[in-house]
Structures are given as structure tokens and as C-alpha cells.
Homo-oligomer: 337 residues x 6
């Protein structure tokens, strides 16, 4: 079985049920998520052995986060314990003309105060096939950034593939700060997930605001090639999302590999939970890679995985690989009985 | 008031709430259903006197099933009691690209071990206008099949109309086994619900996989005529469902009677609960027949009934006849206040 | 801060959760609403100081209604207490082909037996910018009608603007009774919310049943002009709703002012809760007026407000003005994070 | 199987969940109850055939009440339909030092406007063994009183035993009005449920406020004998409740028959739902009578039935006779597995 | 109507439902509380006009806190807005041998960064009868302590009575820090709520660990007299709680006034929610004082108020004064109907 | 860290919420349990490494069981997959005079068809300190019995301690069948959990029905000694439960070791969930043993663990060792804050 290591923060997500609003909420549904952990959980569901590296406080909320990660089948034996609090985000689901709303309360979390001494990086990476991290971890704190760098460097050195997802969050840090750090780590990256905004910012270009569908491919090709020239990632993967309303989107995946662009099937999606769909996309692609599927199938698997995640409540994808394969094969939604 | 007798198993349905998945579910919503009982419940709601023939275990789960049937107004006085367990099915609702999922656990249920001696068939059918059963009952067990045969034969002899819905379930039995038994009972059937797949299999033809809309009518006509030639049912009723996604379908009813085909209005449906919609279709048609409505109205009532059922949670249709009539008359969804 | 006074009944709304039916419901979700109070609550959310004039019984249900109104920031200090019961309405949400269903049980409510002596109208109106009432209050009882008249007259005299929404309810009274009373109060009205049906009935014309989109504007213009000639309201505001299904509507606002017609953006809406959307429309328009926004913006704000309300469970709009402004500005439903 | 007819109103009970208060409640749990219907439901659970005579409005709330009664196995075929509304009561459960709270809203209910012409009394009573009614029905309205009298008279004439439970409700009518009507019907009563307050008021004596346990029996004996002398009921049944707190009571039953007093076991009860326990007491006694059990067993069955009801949420007892028999036999609360 | 001003933090309380544990919780019930706000809410429920001084962040969680306070009838017009986050505490209810568990996450809350310039203290205190604050506010931050001091000083100067409740929290600060600040403000206090531990620490005595019931009064008397000698509070109020289990306590109130000790009735309490019972005790006493009731009644009202609060879910007492009066008068828990 | 292996079936438990009855239930709460898995989960919570050996079907219900076990920190890597169904039990909680009710539906479960070839017993036991199994596993099927025997024998041979809990279930098998198999495995047992009933049956004595408290110890001593003479277990552990009502029990633990009897503290328990308390008792004792605590502490830890479990909903104990230690140390139930 392939083995993956991820590094990132686990957040407590609190969301009022159904379509009710945060303002005046009487109940919160509890989920635990975090970009890299969402990837780990999805990969575990697909049958990959995943080790999560993170840090949680030594009290009920930290223990609950570990319990949740373990329930997905993630190896939790390298999770550090300490610090005062778990980071929180409050999420109001969007619907129709009302966009989803996120209120972050993640400052001074246990993970933000992580220290490299808390982990034996070599031991953790020993025998791993892939290390995955996202830009969020780089932005959480200087400590987290240093830890991520240490992992990426050692992975590169020891032949563990490095996967990186930009995941730029404007509520976390400025574009300027982010890009500086992204540029620092890009040379170690084998598999790179990003949007045209990310690529432009990294390359120092002014991003285009809205893309006319006809020239998207051409536009992406030029960015991919410029990125490749500078950083040489083996795979670059993007997604194109059209937002009809908060509960109806269209979605398609793009892959650049060996100077070719592959496009996935395009999905029209009624949405149950929008959060974590980018992570399900990354997990889908990584799974197909780890299983040595060819690029065109890999991007199809990534897109089907993200389409499926839109129907699953919570931050985390819950699906087995065969369910994604069936979606790719049939596209059918008829009850089996 | 017209009087109908149905024969079939009542199952305990366990489904996680809303769009949550079976995997990791913390709660089940409880419904009781079963193809023939769904028909009986819908007919009771329309004002028809229905007697359910079934068997449940003598413990809380069996008593709960009876309580539920009684709450729909169904006459439960001929329900046998005994056996060890109630059959179960676990249902995960589908949504968007994710199809609904059914896990059956119905082996060795009380009903599967039913014995013809447990019922006084003549007494039960006395004064009835119609007897309804589906292919599921024929497939549950040899015992159930023998009981169904006994009911159908006696009904035919004593002038009680016989209604039959193929309802082939691949998780229950093979096509071969099913068709053999279907062919055995078809000569007694007056009203027959089925799809082109069913008709083909019965007639020993190879079914077409996907139908182009233009020649559907022609195709169905040829099958109806072949069926009629062989088995002489007075009414044959089918439905055409187009699956846009797990929560959006299009639906239309077809009726063959006196060598004519009638088509209902075509509905576009946002779906709350997909289960039992075929039974609401049958119930709608049977109701209109029992009320001596003309065929074109009957197929409209059947289609409107099934359209309405798609909006009702649970296996069972909850509606009064006037609600269906209003849907046929206005098609309007404006609040009345 | 602008100050608004509203007069009207607060009803207890009891509705089964989600898409479940009233028949056989096991739980009711509790909301409190009432056309004028919905307007007051929405305006409070936008930052306007609102005083609600109503009457509730002196027991837990009456106190709960006051508690709810206070939670919206409404000034509850002029609410009369007495009488036996709070009016109730049972609401089943509609979905797809199934229309919403309302069962009223509001006879002999505390508010219906309100008496003008219970209120010091001059004191209440002192310093107010606007008084709002709807046709429902006029139809609740003769007492309520007399009270409404007293408020409207005194408002007009003392320079407080008068806003009136026809809100004709066929389950409350006949067209004939309603129109007689509407005509009595119209001369005092500055801001008038109504549909072409209302205008026709007031003017004694036969309403057209369905409007072809091309000549709607022309038709409305003729009605507005006839209304203006007779009653001279400064603003007349209407909405055009197309009902695709119980959970999908299209919506647009119309404004007649200074002999010009302004139209809002047209929204396609997936619906969470249809009730109170007309009141959110009125509140949106009144807010923009009170903030001295120009007419074209005011009708856009009204339409965006009602679009947003379709996504909010309960009778009452829960939104801040900046959320509506953002919807007008961007139309975007992307998560901000 | 024995056959019982009951006459009385069905009320919609709305109660906030668990120990939450009415004030500020966000949800109501729905139950349907009514003294005589509670008796009918409990008897049905014990295996007796019960026919409920009542009247409900012709809308969803009335139909829901019928659905609920049918679910208990009650024969609902003689329920009249009409009128505007179903009577309501709001119930806040008590706990510890906080007493339960009831807010009635039952005026002008469908049942209060019942008319004797709506029922074919002779047909309904044909074949019945017992007719049961309580003082609540006599107090609901003059119409209801006349109907009750008609039933009691005809029952007495045709040899159907008459059972009557005083059930005096101070929020419904004054002691004076009640006693006048009680005295009118007492001569027809065979089985009489009442407290020492009831007996005193009927006999025109001043009731004692608190009873010292030692002389309770003596006190009751004197009242029973005075009652017997005047009205000659064959059985008089009372209960003695000591209230330690809102969730802890002690309970014992008393029976006067053939000039002897029988006492039941005394129960200490942790309370889940206090409502309907008096009706479970009556049902328990009636069941044992109908099964021809001896008096000492009958009062034990009544007390065990009421003890059991204290653990069942809702107005209605849910238990089979064997469960009560087991409680009498063992008193044991050990899990059976 | 009397007018009270309180100063203190509002916290978001998150607790898993019923008796479920924090570890592995899937849902949180949301309450808002805070010692002084609990006092304000309880007093509002009793009919006193209360103004809450606090600070909340300018986002959905802050607005929700204000909405909740307004729903209790509290005047929220002097609440400051700003800062990043609302303080949180996670609460697991205790039961039987399992104690309740609290996890605090309140550092760097909006209130902890409050600044005296944000409030016009004189304007807020104008016309007030009483100012109430607890030791928690003094311990939240140096800023909060300075603000509390400013309020207490100005209240003392302008003849507004000052009420203070020690409320020492060991998770917030050390005994040493607390006592230093308590001693600084005690000279301004008129009404003082505290336990023998508090008094001992303030007086520099070693507290006794467990009190034998016989000499409690004597022990308290000596502490009261020492406190009075040093700080001259007019009223000192304490409570004696005996913990039988997490859900069963005994409770009694003590009052020292004019050199006399008054004791309340002693309650045995089954507990629904233990949090906020001390605040209900303070509110009960303050209410009786503000209504000029005599001391013996005031301490009875305080104890009855706290007894009642033990039955109310959430941090906040929900009761009207008449409910407390009824509990004092009757002690009865019989349903009224 | 100590390492424990357990063998036994995982059952799906379905229970209606709170105090509602199975009959007519609308919802089930889902738990997974099973005597040996409950022991494993409790030990995992205490910090012991536990490996569960069991078998589940390859569908959503089996995967959910694994997910649940993993969430407790149990090593699930040796769980076999296959078979058709997961065993079920329906549980109605008891309360007051109403005993809990269990309906089993566990026949033909995946585990009952387990085969010894599916497990590499030596590999699984390698490095383990203890193997635990209960009599339930021996009674599930002949296959399960053979597997248990194989495990016990190999454990004994390879120096892994063997722990056995009689756990006789009358709904599973007869006393005769059970005792025959118990006697077969007892020679391999080091740690034996059982009641005086179990010991009597094993020894062929007639059990006494009720024990007078004074001679319990003497009675147990004689049984322990007879058992020791015959089977030589190092530890024999029993519990004495007095059932006051379904929600109030008293509980004490007994330990026989080195010819001495140790008794634990005696607890009076208000009960949240009675199921799995025996398993928490076993887990508590095993934990203390594995930590090499002395016998008197071990039996105290066992009793405190079981006392704590009575407050935890579900089959499984959720507690950390420090919580049990705190209960032993203080017995206090005061909130820490």
C-alpha cells in the first residue's frame, strides 16, 4: 500500500444546521477539517496509508480532533500535543443568492506554535511515497513555515515526492507575504495544484479577472509553461469553477504534464457542502498518481472526486475509490437495488 | 367505498438524516415500507379501504410495523404474527452525482417464512374489488410465492381484479428465476405495471439499452401488443424516467388499453425521496380505475401521484386525492392563504 | 437614526421540519411572524429604529412573542397585553410540484380584540419618520381596522409618512369587504405596495389572469396612472413573480415614481422559505427611502432584499444592510475566506 | 374481545423538548391526547377493542389526530368531522422545584360544537361492554354535556356498563357548575373514579386540605359509604399521590367494592411524563374488570399501569398487558438479555 | 421601575447535548452567558430595567450575543463593538459520579481588550439604582479591572449602590492576584456575595476545608463580623451547597445584615443545569432588595431563585418574579390545570 | 505500552432517543458495541494498545463499525471482512419501574461465520500481554467457539495472560450448553470475571436466588475457593449490584486473589446508560493489573470505572485513566473552573 505524509493544522468547524444563519444560531454541528488533513482523510478512504503531522492542545477538543482523524483511518501516532487552544472557524452554508460565510478564530492555536523539535522528520518520512502540504500551513505562522520547509527539503532529498497546493487565503495573509514564501518552496515541488491567479502572482504577472471560455486553455497553457520553465514541477493541476449560485456550480479539472494539457469531464453540481472540495480534487489526483494511472485518467479521477465531495456534508470527503470509479464509468445516479 | 387487498412484506427502513452518508452515520430515521404496503397506504390516503396481508415478528419491531400501517388507515386485522425478525434495508439518499445506496438485510424475515395456512384467503378476499401484489413478493421465498399464487388464483376465480407490478429486484433474484415465476402468474393478471425491460425479458427478447425519445412510443407499442397477445392483461402501464441527477428527474406515464396508448403530462421533479414513487404510480392508477375514471385521466392521476410522492419523505405517499386532483388541474405551486 | 412605527398582529407559526408534511408531523419548529412585524424586524436588522404596536396574551406564548421581537432589536415597550390567545398558523413548506400549505387558527386572538384606548397614538408616533401597516391588519377585526385608521390619520396629520401594503388574504375576508376598507385608507397613503390584482380590484377593473411578459410594463403603467390619479401615492411598488416550482421562482421589482417606472434586476431563486418575502421587499424599499437613496437604487435594494429573504428560514429576514449591498454590487456567491 | 366506547375531545399538545421552558421555546414536540382517548389508547394497547367518539376539524390537524388514534389501534370510524379548529394545550414539563405548566387554548374547538345528531348512539353502543367518559367532556360545552348524557342514559338502558372519572379541571369551569352536572349523571354510573375532593364537593362537604397518612383510609371509607348510599356505584376507585418534587412522586391506588377497601402496592416514581397518568390508572382498572379479575388484582393492575405510564413520554400509555403483569409479578427492573 | 447596570464579559458557551461527553461530540448547543449578564438577564425577567456594559467583536458571533441579551429584555445600547473574538467556554454537563467539565478559551477576547474611553460612565450610571460586577471581570485583564474600578468609584460617588460577587475562578488567576484586587475595590461595596473561602482569603486567614453542619453558622458569623469591621458592606450573602452527586445538591442561603444572620429554606435539588445558579442567587437577592423587601424575605427569594435556576437549561435564569414567589409560598410542584 | 488482544463480535445497537419506547419509535441512535470490544475501547481510552479481532460484512455497516472502533484508538488491522450482515440489537432504555428491553437480531452475522483460517493467531498474539474474551463469543456459534479456543490455547502456551468474563446470555443459549463450553476453556484462564450464579452453574451447585447482605462475603468466599481448587485462576472478580430502580443502582466490586477478598468502595448510581458497565468493570480491573497496581487499588479502579460508565451514553466507556483516578481520589462532583 502506498504511504503518504501530510502536514497541516486541524481546525474545529462550527456550523449552524442546514440553511440557518450564524446570526442567532442555537446549535452548531461539529466537524474537524484542515486542508492537508482533508487530503489525508480522502486518501485513507481510497485505501492509501496516511500519516498526519499536526499539533493539538491536550484537552477534550484536541483529543476529539485526534479521535476524528483516527476514525478516517489516518495514522495519528505522530501528532504532537500541547498549546492552549484549537483553531476554530465558524461556517454558514450559502444557498442561492446568499454566499457562504466564514468567521475565523484561529490565532494562537496549538499548531501555530508548533516547533520543529517536536517531530523526528526523518523517521516520519521513512518509507513514504509522497509528502503533501498546502500554502495554508506556510501562512499559519513562521514556526509552521519553518516546519513545512524542513519537511519539503528532507522529502526532496530522500526521494519522497512533494505535492503542494497553493490554497491562498486572503484572511490569513497578504498576497505579497504569501508569494515570497511560495517562491521559496516551489523548487522542491513535484506536483503542484494552483489556479491562474496563483500562477500569475508567483510569476509576477497581473491576473486576468474573468476568462472567456474560448481562450482559457490557451491562457492556462502559457502560465503552465512559464511556471515549468522556472520551477519544473512534473504535474500542474488546476480546476475551473463556474458559480451559478451558492448551491449550483460547474466544475472541470485541467492537468499539465509533459507539455500536454488534459481536461476532465465537466460536472454540473448541486451542492451539499462546498468546503473541502479543492482538497478532494487534490486527493483524487494524488490517488490516481500513486496507483500509477495515466494522466488523462488521473485528472478525470480528480474531477469526479471533487464532484462527489460536493454532495458530502463536512470538510472531509467520505467515499471509497470504487464509488469514484463508478461515477467515472457510468455517470449514472440510479438507485441500485 | 372500494375495497382492496394487498399481499407483501413490510420492511424496516433505516436511513441517515438528510444528505449524510451511511458510513459513519450517528442516527437513523425510521420508516416502514414495502412495495404492496406502499400501494395500500397511498390508496388508504385516497379514501379506499385497504386490507394488508403480511407477517411480522411478535416483538416491538413487528408491533411498530403494525402501528405504522394502522396509522395510514390500513386494515391490519389479517396480519400474521410469528418468526424471528423483520426484514431491514438501509438507505442512503442520493444527491447530485451521488446515487442513492441500498443495503438489504432481509433474509429469513418473518414474512419469508409465511405459510398459506396462516391465512383464510377466501374470507380475506370476500367483498374485495381488487387484489394487488408485486414481483418482490414472488421473489422473497418459495413460501411467499406459493401464497401469492394462491391469492391470485382465488381472486381470479371469484371475480376480484388482479393487479401486478413486476418490480424486478436484481439484489433479490436472477432475471431467469424471476421470469419463470412471472410467466406462471401473468395469465391471472388484469392490470399490469412494467417497464420495457420487464416486457422484453418476459417475452424472451433482448432489451434495448437506451431509447431515443422519438421511437419510444413505437417500441412500447410493439411490446404491449406482444404482451397482450400472450397474456391478455386489460391494462398495461409503464413509466419513463429520465435521470438528470440523483435529485432531478423527469417522469411520464404510459397506458396501453384497448389497443390505444395514452400518455400523461411530463413532470420535471426536484426529489425529496425517490423510494416508493413506483408504488405511488401504481396506487394512482388503481385509484382512478376503482373510481371508474376514464383511461386518459387515470394515467394522468398516476403520473401526478408519483410526481407528488417525490416530494414526500419516507417510503409511503402521504396525500389526499384532492391534492392530486389539484395538481392535475392547476399545476400551480403558489401558497394558498 | 430613522424611526419607524408598525402596527399589526404577531402570529405563532408552527411548521414541521424540512420537507415533512403537516399530516402526521411529530415536531413543530416555532417562529413568530406577522406582515408588519416582519417589516419591522428586517428594518431593525438594517439599522433602523422600529417600534412595534401589537397586542399579545399575558402568558408564556405572548411573552415568547415579545422575547422574539426584542431579539430582532425591535422596541417592544408599546405592546399591549391581554386577551386569551395568540393567533396561530400552521405552515407546511412546499417543494417541487407540492405547494406550501397554510392552516390558519387566528380567530379571537388577543390582537383581534385590540382597542384604540390601549395605545397613546400621539406619543407613539412622536418623532417617527414613517408608519407602516398592511391590509391584513385592516381585515383582522373591526377593532383592528379602527385602530389602523386612527394611526394612519394621525400619522398623515403630523407629517409622518404612511406606508401601506395591500397584502390581500382570501382566507381572511372577501375581496368586496377588503376593497371597501382599502379605499377608505388609500387617501392617506404615501408609499403603496401592491400587485396588479390589488390595483384592478381597487379601481373596479377586472384583473387579467396571466400576463405575457412583453406587455406587463404597459399594463402596470396604466394601472399605476389610474391609481395615482385617484389616490396620489408618491411611490407605488410591485413585484413580478414567476413560479417555476414551489422551490424555484423568478422575481423582479417594479417602482412607479414621478410618472416613471424603474425595474430591478431579475433574480432566479432557489427557495428555503417563501414566507415573509413580500415583507422583506417592502422593508428593502422603505430602508432605501429612509436612507434617501434614489428610486432606481431603492427598487434594486427591495428586490435584492427579497431575493436574500428566500434563503432565510422563518418569517423574518435576517440580514444586515451591507449583505444586501454586496449582493447588489457583486451578485457573487463565492465563499470569502 | 371486550369492546369499549369512549367519548371525549382530542387535544393537540405542544411541549418544548426535555426540560426546556415554554418561554423562548424553538421547537414543540407534538402529542395528541384527551382524557377519554388516553383511556381508549391504553385499553387498545392491552388488547381491548375501543371505539372513540369525538369530533375533529376537516384539515391537516384533524386528520393528524385521527392518524394518531388509529396508530394506537383505536376504531376511528365514528369520529365526526367539522368545525374550525382543534383544541390545543401547551405543556411545559416540570422538574425538581419547578412545577409543570399548562396553557390551554381549547375554546371553540370542533368538539365543543359537537351535536348529538352527528352520531347514531345506538349503533355505536351496540355490542359494547362498557362506556367511559370523564368530567372534562361534561365541562367542555353544553353541547358536549348533552351528548355525554345521551350516551350515558342509553348505555345504562341497554346494559352497557358506565364508567365515569370526575377529572375536575379548575381552568375549565367552577366547582359549582361542575358539581351540578356531575350530580345529574352520577345515578347512571357503575364505575367511578374520584378523589376525596370530588366526593366531598359532590356530597356538599368541606374537603380537608391535607391528610395525615394514618387516617386516610378511615376518611376515604366514610366518603365512599356516603357516595354509595346516594349514588350506588359498584366500584369507586381513588389514588393517593404524594409529591416529593415535580419529578418524584409516590403513588397508591384505593378501591371500594362490596363495602370493602382494597389497597395497591405503593410505588415511588421517577417521572418522565406526568400527564395522562390518571387515565392510565382508569384504563388499568377497567382492563382488569373487563378481564374479570378479582378486585384486589384490579387495583394492583391500575396502580402498576399508572406507575408504568409515569415513564412513558406523551399523554398516552404505551404498554402491553404483559408488561404490567410483569411489573406486578416481579417489581424487577433488570435488563432481560 | 428600578434600574440596574452590570459590567462583564459575555461568553459563548458550547455544550454537547444532554449527558453526552465533550470527547467525540457531534453537536454543540449554544448559549451565551457571563456572570454579570446572567444577573442582568435574571433581573430583567423579574421586571427590572437592566443595562449591560460589555464589548463584543463586530461579526456574527458578537451580533448573536447582542441578539440574545436583547431577547432577555436587557438594554444593549451601551455595548461596545470591536476586537477579534468572543471568549468561549466548552461545558460538559456532569451527572452522578461524573463532575461537570469546563474548558476555557477566553484569552484575547474583545472584552479583555476593553478600554475605559469606550464608555461614557457617567451617562450610563445616570438614574441607576445599582451597579453590579463580579470578581471575574476584575480578573479578565488589567483593562477590564481598570474599567470596573472606574465604574465602582463613580457609582459610589453618585449614590448608586454597588453590588459585588467574588466569583473567584482558579483557571483565570491565582488567589494572590485576585485578593490583591478584591481588597482594592471592597471599600466601595454595599452588597457583597461570597463564600467562607473568599472571606478567609481576603482576611488573610487559612480557610477550613470542610464544615461540620453544627458550627457553620458560628463560623460564618465570625467571618462576617471580621469582614464588616474592615470593609463595612451593608449586606453579606453566602450560600451553603452540599454536593450529593453531580445531579443532586442541597442548597441554603445565608444573609448577614445589621449584625443578624438570616437563613433561607433549605432545598434538595435535582439538577438540569448547574451553571449560573450563583448568579440567580445574586439576582434573587438584588431583586428583593430593589423591591424593598425585608432581609428574611430577601434571602428566601435568593435561595428560591437559585433553586429554580437549577431546573433551567443554559447559563441564564428564565423565570418571572411570580414564579419564585409561588415557590416560596407553596413549595408545591403540582401541575396547575 | 501494554498490549491487549480481544476477540468478539461487534453489534450494531439501535436505540430510540431518551426515554422513548421502541414501540412507535421514529429515530434510532446508532452505537456499536460488543462485550470484548467495549473492553478494548475502554482500555484504549486508558492508554493501552488494543488489537480487536472480529469480522464484519463488506458494506457500509461493516465499514462503519471499523470506523467507530478506529475512533476509539483500537488497532483494526486484523479485522476480517466478509459475510452478509452485521448483528443487531435494539435497545430501549429503562427508567424508574420500567426495565430496559433488548431485542436481538444477531443470527447469521458475519462474525458467527468466522473461520479460524481467516486469522494468523500467532502473529496477532505476538508481543501481547493479555488476551481477553467473554462467554458471548463462545455462544455465538461453533465457529466462534473454535476460534476462541484456538486463541486461548495459543495465548496460554506463549505466555500471554488470558482474561475471561462469563457474560452468560440466556437469549443466546441454554445454561447447559454454556457451562459445558465454559468448563472446557476455564483451565486456560488467568483472570476470571463472574457472578455467584456463574460459579454455581460451573461448579454444578444450585444458585441461591437472593443474598442477604450479611453473608454475601462468606458465600462468595466459598465459591471462589471451590473455583480456585478446580481451575486455579489467579484473579476472580465479581460485582454486586442492587437494583433500586431502572435508573438507580448500587454497585460494589469484589476481588479474590491469593486467598484474600478485597472489596471496593460502594457506589450509588444515577444511570444514563446501563449497557457495557460490566465491560467497563473488566477493563478497569485489567488496566490496573497491566499497570501493576496492587489488588486493592485494582478492584477500586474497576468499580470506579464501572460507576463512571453508568454516566456515559452508548455501549462504550469514554474516559481517560486520570478521570477514574480523580473519582477514586476525591469522589467529588464539583465543577472545576
Amino acid at each position: 500500500m502506498a504511504r503518504v505524509v501530510t502536514l497541516g493544522e486541524v481546525l474545529l468547524r462550527l456550523s449552524p444546521p442546514g440553511q440557518t444563519r450564524l446570526l442567532g444560531a442555537r446549535q452548531f454541528e461539529i466537524h474537524y477539517g484542515g486542508s492537508e488533513l482533508n487530503v489525508a482523510a480522502a486518501l485513507s478512504g481510497f485505501g492509501i496509508h496516511c500519516t498526519a503531522v499536526t499539533k493539538v492542545p491536550e484537552h477534550e477538543l484536541g483529543y476529539s480532533a485526534i479521535k476524528e482523524l483516527a476514525s478516517f483511518g489516518i495514522d495519528t501516532s505522530f501528532i504532537a500535543k500541547g498549546g492552549d487552544r484549537i483553531g476554530i472557524y465558524y461556517l454558514e452554508n450559502g444557498y442561492s443568492v446568499r454566499p457562504a460565510k466564514v468567521v475565523y478564530d484561529r490565532k494562537d492555536s496549538a499548531f501555530s506554535r508548533v516547533s520543529p523539535d517536536e517531530f523526528n522528520i526523518e523517521q516520519i518520512l521513512a518509507g513514504a511515497d509522497l509528502f503533501h502540504v498546502s500554502g495554508i500551513t506556510l501562512g499559519v505562522s513562521e514556526n509552521a513555515f519553518q516546519l513545512a520547509k524542513a519537511f519539503m527539503q528532507k522529502a526532496r532529498k530522500s526521494g519522497v515526492k512533494v505535492s503542494f497546493d497553493f490554497n491562498y487565503r486572503s484572511k490569513l495573509w497578504s498576497i505579497g507575504e504569501a508569494m515570497e514564501k511560495f517562491r521559496e518552496v516551489l523548487p522542491w515541488v513535484d506536483i503542484l495544484f494552483g489556479s491562474h491567479f496563483d500562477f500569475c502572482h508567483v510569476l509576477g504577472k497581473k491576473p486576468v479577472n474573468s476568462l472567456d471560455e474560448t481562450d482559457i486553455l490557451q491562457y492556462y497553457r502559457s502560465l503552465y509553461e512559464a511556471m515549468f520553465e522556472q520551477y519544473h514541477p512534473k504535474y500542474m493541476i488546476s480546476s475551473i469553477r463556474e458559480v451559478e449560485s451558492a448551491n449550483r456550480n460547474r466544475y472541470q479539472g485541467l492537468l499539465y504534464h509533459n507539455h500536454r494539457i488534459e481536461r476532465s469531464r465537466k460536472y454540473t453540481l448541486d451542492i451539499v457542502d462546498r468546503v473541502g472540495t479543492g482538497d478532494a480534487f487534490a486527493a483524487g489526483f494524488l490517488y490516481a498518481c500513486l496507483m500509477n494511472r495515466e494522466p488523462s485518467y488521473a485528472i478525470d479521477f480528480a474531477a469526479a472526486s471533487t464532484a462527489f465531495k460536493h454532495t458530502v456534508p463536512g470538510d472531509v470527503m467520505i467515499a471509497r475509490a470504487c464509488e469514484i470509479e463508478q461515477l467515472i464509468a457510468t455517470g449514472s445516479c440510479t438507485v441500485q437495488r
